[in-house]
Symmetry: C2
Subunit: 270 residues, 2 copies
């Protein structure tokens, strides 16, 4: 019942659904209960899962993979299981090994904020945001319908893709920006901190994210992340070559191309 | 009388100073006058400059270098000339060739916003922000005092350094972030626009900046920009090597190091 789980709980409860939460942190659970993210907090994972129509696993990828077998055993055979992890191949691979594999949907809401934990939960967090859904050819259609219904309830819009495609795309749109922000903050270094403007602040905000969470994401999508980093290094080579040769037209063309791409990114996200 | 010149005008006028503006764009001038950024708009550069105690050149670096000789001729011998350009060696080099070279101060306010033009001018834009000042051993002490007084009036704090040091530092804190943002937007590409989250938005905001302005900045500080890009590429190699070898401890250490640097950058800018 952190930021994502708590926000999903709030949104579901605002639609009159009954939400049973579970968290290994009793403090998190108390906050989630007080803020109305959940109808009740279960004392065990089994208790939270056993009576549910849909089980939402909002955890770091590594923990999702570890807990999936226990959730599969505890959940009712008719229940749908969905996660909200940032990398999808490890989740879908773990799901494939379960008895109830056909009722597991991979989920990834493209939303978030700097704060974490249930105190930052917001029923509107997913509104008009993409919610990526991954399934396999054998996935039960009832589970797909249930996942689409959840996404609809959150005010998000579903985008269906394979886990392979998800991890390839997210390596560019999320994991690459993360390592770039971190590498930039390291390059600038704290000794130049007094001379940073708003642009540098924007560019190093991602680097403040949780380090353990990101270690797990980067390691579990390493092939795609390395490909994306290579593509970025090539782009950096293109612009530095143009600068180094003093080719003003090439520099201008490059800056215009990047500006156009950035404006498209902005307009698409509104 | 764009964003920077207009904001300086607003701040000076709020302290009761008389401000004479000049702009090649009559439309910009009309907006600046209507919004109170200037007391009057001059019809020629000479008219704007001749009676002034201090001349503030708020233009792209290339235009500053081109116009400095005319400003030097038109300005009163006792006047101080300061600019607000993003690169300081070309300005100080151009100043060294003038008759009145000892009254030229290089200036660079570390402030800004996404909008440009006098309509976005804000008297508080520089408040509690660094305002970098460059001078040479022969610079007149009266001009240094006048520049410090201007910075004080804007509510900014002066940071004095050589033009060489300025261009070296800004290559890391400003010019490198700019090309990274542009290279990232290009790498992600418009076709993935629908899947971008708030982190990618932050990381590609700088890429929306004016392309011509940035071409000139990058070309006029190319040696330092290339050095900074090489440092960044080395950092990117360090994190991708750790990811590639599956070394979780090294990845975590790297992410923690970048996070610490980013938090220092944020705290220093508040």
């Amino acid at each position: 019942v952190g930021l994502i789980g708590g926000s999903i709980g709030l949104a579901l409860r605002s639609q009159g659904r009954y939400v049973c939460g579970y968290d290994t942190s009793a403090a998190n659970g108390a906050v989630a209960l007080r803020l109305g993210c959940v109808s009740e907090m279960a004392r065990t994972l089994e208790q939270a899962v056993s009576g549910s129509e849909i089980v939402v696993m909002s955890l770091p990828v590594r923990a999702i993979v570890e807990l999936l077998p226990a959730v599969d055993i505890a959940a009712s055979p008719s229940a749908t299981i969905i996660d909200t992890g940032s990398v999808k191949r490890p989740v879908m691979d773990a799901a494939a090994r379960l008895t109830g594999s056909t009722r597991v949907i991979g989920g990834h809401p493209i939303a978030g904020k700097e704060e974490s934990g249930p105190a930052a939960a917001d029923a509107g967090l997913f509104r008009r945001r993409p919610f990526l859904l991954t399934s396999v050819p054998g996935t039960r259609s009832e589970s797909i319908e249930m996942a689409l219904s959840l996404v609809h309830t959150l005010g998000a819009y579903p985008v269906r893709m394979t886990a392979t495609e998800h991890d390839r795309v997210l390596a560019r749109t999320s994991h690459l920006p993360q390592i770039l922000s971190t590498a930039l903050a390291t390059t600038v270094g704290p000794e130049r901190a007094g001379l940073s403007g708003p642009g540098l602040q924007d560019m190093t905000r991602l680097a403040m994210s949780d380090s353990v969470l990101w270690r797990d994401i980067l390691l579990s999508n390493s092939d795609n992340v390395l490909d994306a980093a290579r593509e970025l290094a090539q782009e950096l080579n293109r612009i530095t070559s143009a600068i180094g040769s003093g080719d003003g037209d090439a520099v201008l063309d490059y800056m215009i191309g990047g500006r156009t791409a950035a404006l498209t990114l902005r307009d698409a996200s509104v």
